[in-house]
Symmetry: C2
Subunit: 118 residues, 2 copies
């Protein structure tokens, strides 16, 4: 059964490990072929501290700009960029102070646990 | 190994079954946890005829508006909307004449074959 959801009907929930960071569940774990989609919104200057996840992330930057640390590297990303973070790789986000930063994050349905590193 | 790709470095390729439709491969089949991401760009009034795929689609509308047919239903979608099309379900796209229509489409890595129905 196909599903069409209006983005404005989907709640944005605060991400407790983040700062000025919200998550919107777009598709649900277990609803499809083993993966699901979330959208993250970070307020200007907000972000997530250095952490690991047990699942890989395939991400697409929707809006704004940010610095992203992955492993020992720091990258400047902007709308249209693609970020692929392997499972277990330490990473962090810091949104530009100039405006909100938004990205899509697709993950496998496998169990995940976030571990903060700082 | 993490990968960061600038969207402007990724080529847009014509989709032969479509009309005014291009596809940008964002992540590659087999590069991760069993799924990969593509971006589609449809020129105003462009689209894809009614067809089926062997893999499900999880889609996020990035820009513009379109009519999308899924099964026997027709939906009007716009930026921020989420579309989930099961494997094997007939579907089609028609971009609004007012501007380009863009969406992200995440699919499992399983083999796919498109079958046109009209």
């Amino acid at each position: 059964m196909a599903t069409i959801r209006s983005g404005s009907d989907l709640p944005l929930e605060p991400v407790s490990a983040g700062e000025g960071t919200q998550r919107q569940t777009l598709t649900h774990r277990g609803s499809g072929a083993g993966f699901h989609m979330r959208r993250f919104v970070m307020q200007p200057g907000g972000g997530m501290p250095r952490h690991t996840n047990q699942v890989e992330h395939q991400q697409y930057v929707l809006k704004g700009a940010a610095r992203i640390g992955v492993g020992e590297q720091v990258h400047q990303v902007q709308a249209g960029d693609v970020v692929h973070i392997p499972a277990g790789e330490p990473h962090w986000y810091r949104a530009s102070p100039d405006g909100p930063f938004e990205f899509l994050c697709v993950v496998p349905d496998d169990e995940d646990r976030i571990q903060l590193l700082e």
